[in-house]
Each structure stands twice: as C-alpha cells, then as structure tokens.
C-alpha cells in the first residue's frame, strides 16, 4: 500500500518534469511579436514602409485598396463618371445619391488601418533609440514626420468624406486597446490635422536624393502641399498661399509635357518633375484599376458630355486643335474609357496589359499647387494674379475655349473658372467632389449651385428633384457611417441625414 503511493508520486513527478515545454510555447511561429520587434532602425524603416504599403492595398482584409476608395469618394457623385455594366449596387447607389449605411464604400476601415500603422510608428519608434545606438535623432524624426503627415492626409480624406469621425491618435496594439470611441467634430479633427502637419514639416527632409523616393515618400513639400489644401478647405487663404509659395519657390517642381506628351510623362511613366506625392504601384504591387476601367469588365466610365462640354472640340481647324488633357489623356472619347489609369499611349490605341497595371495614384502634383494658390489669392481679391496662374496651366495643356470665357476682373467669375479648370486638369484623380464641395460650402453655402449644377448632369432624370432637395441638407453631402461600425462601436452616432 505504501509502495503503491510512492510509485504513484514518482510517476506523477516524472510526468510533470518532462512535460514538453516546446508545445506550450505561446509565441506565434509565423510572425514576430512586438517584444522582439522595435529593436533596430531597420525595423523602424520597415514599419514606415509598411504605412505606404498599406495604402496600396491591405493584406489583412478583403476590402478594395485605398485608391479605389479615393476614386469613388472623389468621383462617383460627380459629373465626371458614369457607372459601367459591372458597377455594384453600392456604386450605383452612390451615383444616385442613395447612399445607405450598408454601402460598402462607407466602410472606412482601410483608412483607419493606415492611420493605425502611423499611430504605431509614432508610439513605438522613439523607444528604439534605447536599443539601437546607430539610430540617430534625425532618422527618428524622419520616421515620425512621415507618420504624422500620412495620418494627417488620411484624416483629411475622412473629414471631407464623413465630416465627423472618431479621432484616434493612439496606437491599437492589443485587443485591450479596442474601446468604443465617439466622433469628434470636424473642427477639432482639422485642428489636429494642422498640428500633425506642422509637427511633420521640420522633421521630414526636402529630398531623399532619389527621384522615386522623392515622389513616393513624404517630403517637406508634400507636407506644405497637404497643408495648403487643408487651409484652402478651412478658408484660410493667406496661409494657403504661403504654403503654396514654399513649394513654388523651391524650384524643385515644374509643369511637364509642354513640348512632349503630357500623358506619357505624367501618367504612363509617373514620378515626373511635376509630381509631389504619388503611390508607387509597380509590377510587384499592381493597382486595382485595370478591371474597373477596361470595357469588358467596366465598373466606371467617363461621362458622355466631357469632350463636348468640358474639354471642348475644335470644329474650325484641320487637324483640329485638342486640349492635351482630353482625348488620349484623361479619357478615350470613342468608348468613354478612363484612360489615365489603363492607357498605354496617347493616341488612345493601346491599353496597358493586366500585369502592367501600375499607373501611380497621384495625391498631389505641381499643377494642384498652382491652382490652389490661384483659388486662394482669388479669394483674397486678386483675380488678375490668379488668372495668370491659371493661364500657366491652360497654356501647358493647349486648352480650348469652352463655356464662359475667363474674366480676370471679377472674383466670382474667376472662382467658377478655376473650378472648371480644376475639373479639366484633375479629371478622374479623385478630386472633383471635394473641389465642388469646397467651393459650394464657401461662405456658408453661398454657392450651392455648383453642387446642384453638377448633380443635375450626373443624376438620372427621374431622381433629380429628390437629389436636389437632399443637397440642401448639409449632412447629405457627407457619407453615412458604415452599419458594422455603428453596431460594434456603441458610442458612434449616425449622421442625422441617414437616420
């Protein structure tokens, strides 16, 4: 009996001692845990690169990559595009101004994913200084500056699309950080954006001594340009002009394509001297635009009136004069293909192959800076100086006279003309809706007609009156919060228009 007890104890002890500690190891075998990361400057660099990579398409969810969102947020509600036969119900609803909280493009998740990458770098990169003696303060500043700038850019898109969103500035690193969060007002978000950009400005370099990096990463000029756009949105015109001047006076940028092909330099090859910040899609990382725009699987096409009423057609000369930005650049007129992202030449004859679909997504380019400055100084009652900047852009493109001619003596007429010029210059670059909204909302929606005129063209006839009456409600100009977010975050309140 006693022996039995001893044997049992021994057996239990021996089992306990030799228990395989390898299989009880809780660390994942297919990834790196945070405790092992954030040790060296290379890891910080990798994390910063991860921010840019996340904008090109995320690996962690099945949602479309960010540029697709930006295209739809910036163009779908405007007179630039028409839905193709493959357009989803969500996309058609946006065109018809019937955006429901279940609309897939109301899901802001990809934007917040990038924001979280930025927040993580901001939270954890400073700690690397302790571990890696070769990690310099300059290097750290650069990483933090890039993260702040991209976070500001992402919130700027959110605030223009949703107006009020949760302002999350801390990193979500573990499940414990996932807490319900209420929306912040548009003004406090915009203040934070300005603060982020001003923080980033001295931290990031003016150049990385490599043309591709200068266009693909945040430089000081990128920060100035985003800041100019933010000031313009907030109707701070003098500040906007100052930021634009920083970029203009740098002498690093110029308009391309005056003598050669505009399409080839700006869109086909990319990273031109005009470019300020663009997403570097390449053969390893394709964009999602090919199937969206080619005619056999088209989800989006160019609106039918663009050649006649926006770019203009020349009936007097032979061969006819052409706006360089029209046929064969922005679009292919005979079948309404949006050419900027899928075209391979500027006669509109050959398309990019599916595995060559890496046209960059251009966030900002020099022409934008010039036109932003024009818009700002025009609001400061300098329409003549504004008209000179606009003429630069028009001469480069060999623009035709369409619609009301430019009147450089009147502020109101210049305001409208600059908006029309921006429509031609940035066709399909995800800017049109924000441009119209910015001009419409100026001086407490004094010029809501910009919005109604635009929607009058794009909306199906039988929905026109409904849409016009919706537009009179400011809240209808912004997207609803996605239903899933409302269900999982009880502090969120839906935009009152979509209740």
């Amino acid at each position: 009996m006693k022996n039995k007890l001893i044997y049992t104890c021994l057996l239990a002890a021996s089992l306990g001692m030799s228990s395989c500690n390898k299989w009880l190891e809780l660390r994942p075998q297919d990834g790196i845990v945070r405790e092992e990361f954030w040790k060296t400057k290379e890891q910080v660099d990798a994390a910063v690169t991860g921010i840019y990579a996340s904008m090109m398409g995320s690996g962690t969810n099945n949602l479309p990559p960010l540029p697709e969102y930006l295209f739809i947020w910036g163009e779908a509600r405007t007179d630039m595009v028409i839905p193709g036969f493959r357009a989803s119900a969500s996309e058609n609803d946006i065109v018809n101004w019937n955006i429901l909280p279940t609309n897939t493009f109301a899901n802001w998740r990809p934007v917040y994913e990038t924001i979280n990458y930025c927040n993580t770098v901001i939270a954890l990169a400073p700690g690397v200084m302790k571990n890696d003696n070769t990690f310099t303060q300059d290097h750290l500043n650069r990483a933090l500056g890039e993260a702040h700038a991209i976070r500001a850019l992402m919130y700027f898109y959110l605030v223009r699309t949703f107006k009020e969103v949760p302002l999350k500035l801390t990193a979500t690193i573990s499940d414990e950080d996932v807490k319900p969060m209420a929306k912040s007002g548009a003004d406090s978000i915009l203040n934070q954006i300005e603060l982020d950009l001003k923080t980033a400005e001295p931290m990031v370099p003016t150049t990385y001594s490599n043309i591709d990096r200068d266009k693909g990463r945040v430089t000081r000029y990128t920060v100035n340009t985003i800041l100019a756009d933010v000031y313009l949105w907030r109707e701070k015109y003098a500040e906007c002009a100052t930021e634009c001047n920083k970029v203009i006076n740098s002498g690093n940028f110029g308009l391309v394509g005056t003598t050669s092909s505009l399409f080839d330099a700006l869109y086909y090859r990319g990273n031109s001297a005009e470019s300020i910040f663009e997403l570097q899609f390449d053969a390893q990382r394709l964009n999602s635009f090919h199937s969206i725009f080619i005619s056999t699987t088209r989800r989006w096409g160019a609106a039918a009136h663009l050649m006649d009423e926006v770019f203009g057609q020349d009936a007097l000369n032979s061969p006819p004069l052409e706006d360089k930005r029209g046929n064969g650049c922005s679009l292919r007129s005979n079948d309404g293909t949006i050419w900027k992202y899928v075209g391979a030449d500027d006669n509109g004859t050959s398309l990019r192959a599916p595995d060559q679909s890496f046209a960059h997504w251009i966030f900002y380019r020099y022409a934008d800076v010039l036109l932003m400055k024009a818009e700002a100084i025009n609001q400061l009652n300098q329409p003549l100086e504004a008209s000179r900047l606009v003429m630069n852009i028009r001469q480069r493109a060999q623009a035709l006279e369409v619609g009301v001619p430019m009147d450089s003596t009147s502020k109101e007429s210049m305001e409208e003309f600059i908006l029309a010029e921006r429509q031609r210059e940035f066709a399909f670059e995800g800017k049109r809706y924000y441009d119209v909204l910015r001009n419409a909302k100026r001086n407490k929606f004094l010029n809501l007609r910009y919005m109604t005129d635009m929607v009058g063209i794009s909306i199906p006839k039988e929905r026109q009156q409904v849409a016009f009456n919706k537009l009179k409600d400011e809240n209808a100009l912004y997207f609803p919060i996605y239903l899933y977010e409302l269900q999982s975050n009880k502090l969120l309140e839906q935009n009152p228009f979509y209740k």
Binding site: D93, N96, N98, L100, P101, A304, M307, Q313, S333, N334, G348, T349, G456, K461, E462, R463, Q464, Q465, V466, A467, F468, N469, K470, L471, K472, D473, E474, N475, A476, P496, F497, Y498, K499
Partner: protein
C-alpha cells in the same frame, strides 16, 4: 448498525447523483435567427408604435406581418396615429370603425422590400396592398432634408431591417385618395372650364370609373386651370368651345374639342418622374402622342423642332402636379392642344443613330465600310436622304476605313 450506515451512505450517494444529473435545461436555439419580424419590432417599441400595433391587431393584419415574407411597412408613430384618429373622429383605436381602419393599413404595406434607394421623384415601383401607388420625394425644411411619402408624412427613421422586410418610421398616417380624377378636379373651382369640357365631350365617365381590372384602371390627366386657359386668351367654356368645336357637337370624336380633351389623357399612371423617362406618351386621341422632356429641371411637354423650326412647349408645374387619385394621377400645366401636321416628306441621315454618333472617329467622316452600295440607293425609288459623307462619295469607289479600335 452497519446496515443503517451503509443505507445512509447509499442514500447520500444517490441524492448526490440526482443533484448532479438534475435536469439542467438545455438551451437549444429553435430559430435560425434572433431577428424580429415587423410586428415584433413594433412590439419592441411600444412608446412609438403601440397604437399602430393596435390597429394591426384590430384589422387582423398582425398575423401575416409576423410571418415569413417580404414586406415594406411604413409605420406611423403614436402621435401621427392620434392626429389621424381625431381627424376621423374616433376617440381611440377600438372606437374607430373597422372599415375606416382597413384601407389605411393596406396603404401602409407593400409586398416587396423597398429601401430608400427606391425612392425617386414620383411613385414607388410597386403599388401598395391597397392598390394605389405611394409617391415619394424629399422635402427640405430649415435645411434638414428628409424623405416625404405621399406628401403626407416625413420619414423619421428609415431602412429598419427586420426578419421579413423593411420598416420606415413615418410621422403621420398615410391616407389613400378616395375620389377619382375628375371628382378631384370638380372639387377645385379653378379648373371649372376644363371640367366642363370633360363633361361635354363625354370623358367624364371614363375619368370617374375605377376599373377593377388594374391593367385598365390607370389614367394620367394633364389638366389646365382656368388661369392657364386665360393666359391663352380663353376665359370661359363658351370661348373654348367657340375656338375648337367646329362640328358643334363636342361628343363627336372628329370634333376638335373632343380631340383637345382626349389629347390631355394619357394611358397608364404616369407621375412626373415617369413622364420624363420616356420621350413620348400615347394619348387617348388615336395615333397622337405628347412629347416630353426635362429642360433645366422643368418638365416640358411638346417642345419639338419641326422642319427646322423650334416650337415652344408648355411646362408642367411641379408644385401642383403629381396628384394621385383612385384611378390615376393628374398634373397641372399650361394650355396646349393637338398639333395639326400636313403630310410631308421626311428626309433623314441614315447614320444618325446614337450608336454611330458616339463614335466620332467614324461618324460623318469620309470613307466608311457599310454593306450598302450607293448605286442601289440612287436607283431605288425610296424617299430617303443620306448622310453627307455618302452624298460626297457617290462617284468614287468606296474606300476601306481603318478598323475602329
């Protein structure tokens, strides 16, 4: 003693066993989803919907609204129901006449799932269970826009997804129209001349009957107010008759006054949103159509270019149009009548159709490849004109165009 002890132990063990295995209620889900149905949702929010729920119970509609199906329900809130009850003179739901409850209930239900995406300028795609269509729109008050149903109720909460459809919360009860097209007009003294013309030409009965066959029931009437007629110099029925009635008998189908009225009645229920979605509509006047288009947000009737001359059309007034009646809808517009066209030859360019016109590379460009020989056209006696490029190339051989991209 020992027996007694073991007895106690056994008893204890058994009772323990029983305690452990005592019937624990197994929580088995018997339903595939926890979603409530329409009535379930109304029950969940008695503060908003208790009265509407009572109406559903009294009219015996709750049972099917709580069963499987696809419905859209416009649910009026309690304040809306109270206002309506006092309007029909009932103290509460139980005091109301059962018949007066039944029709409005059916008018709030559609046997399909419709979200606000389906709300356009004009009617919903499917009639209500009552048989009449609901019209939708958006109204803007103090810069807050909301959907408005039947010009009677605002949608205060939309697209509530429940197990068997959608609920839209509305702030008033929707009331179907109870009178026919012509009775509605008759009640308005400002349409007296037009109504008299309807009576004299014999269209009164047609516009007053509600055909039980829904395929024949609906008509659309383009009415002209006395003011609209006065603007065209017609101040009384006598003046109208003097102007148009050439045979002296307006009931005669060949009389121009008869044609004038027939030309103002369209087949089918066509709200303004439907009118602008087609270029032309058949009228009751045989082989005569009205053309319609949207010009700068105005609905314009009969604005056409004829023989190179632009004939101005008349505008339908949006604010006073889209009036639903038991047998159709009527609109309000300015004075117009049938246009008399003498027979004439028509010439057209055979290539002016949109598919060709959308190809600027080929349209009106010399040298195209079409399977028709110019000679054949010349030889034929057909009265057709041809496109510029065809005429230009009659003497030279037909060249082959570069293949379109």
């Amino acid at each position: 003693m020992k027996n007694r002890f073991s007895y106690i132990v056994t008893l204890g063990l058994v009772s323990c066993l029983l305690a452990v295995h005592s019937c624990r209620k197994m929580d088995i889900k018997m339903t595939t989803t926890g979603d409530v149905n329409i009535v379930g949702y109304l029950e969940k929010y008695p503060d908003s919907f208790s009265l509407f729920k009572q109406i559903l119970d009294r009219t015996e509609t709750s049972a099917f609204l709580n069963a499987y199906g696809a419905y859209t329900c416009f649910a009026p809130t309690n304040s809306g129901v109270k206002a309506w009850l006092s309007k029909v003179g009932a103290a509460n739901v139980d005091a109301a006449n059962l018949e007066t409850l039944k029709d409005p209930v059916k008018f709030h239900l559609i046997t399909d799932t419709l979200t606000t995406s389906n709300f356009k300028d004009g009617k919903l795609p499917i009639p209500t269970m009552f048989g009449q269509y609901l019209i939708t729109g958006v109204s803007n008050k103090e810069s807050v826009s909301s959907f408005i149903i039947n010009r009677q109720a605002l949608v205060t909460k939309s697209n509530i997804r429940v197990g068997n459809g959608f609920i839209h919360q509305v702030d008033h009860v929707l009331e179907p129209s109870t009178v026919s097209l012509v009775k509605q007009l008759e009640a308005k003294p400002e349409y007296s001349i037009f109504v008299q013309a309807i009576k004299e030409t014999g269209f009164y009965d047609r516009l007053n009957t509600v055909d039980p066959d829904t395929s024949k029931r609906w008509l659309t009437l383009l009415a002209e107010s006395n003011q609209a007629l006065a603007d065209s110099g017609i101040t009384s029925y006598a003046a109208l008759k003097a102007k148009y009635s050439k045979t002296g008998n307006p009931a005669n189908a060949n009389d121009s006054l008869h044609m004038y009225v027939a030309y103002h009645i369209l087949d089918g229920v066509k709200f303004l949103g439907d009118i602008i979605s087609a270029p032309a509509h058949q009228t009751l006047q045989p082989q005569e159509v009205v053309t319609t288009q949207l010009l700068n947000t105005n609905v314009v009737v009969n604005e056409d270019e004829f023989n190179g001359v632009l004939e101005k059309g008349v505008t339908l007034i949006r604010s006073t149009s889209d009036n639903a009646a038991t047998n159709g809808v009527w609109h309000d517009g300015a004075h117009f009548t049938v246009k008399y066209r003498a027979p004439t030859a028509v010439y057209w360019d055979v290539s002016t159709f949109t598919e060709i016109m959308k190809m600027p590379a080929n349209y009106k460009k010399p040298a195209s490849r079409l399977p028709v020989r110019v000679k054949q056209i010349n030889r034929s006696k057909m009265c057709i004109g041809v496109g510029d490029h065809w005429r230009a190339r009659t003497s030279s051989p037909i060249a082959t165009a570069p293949a379109p991209v």
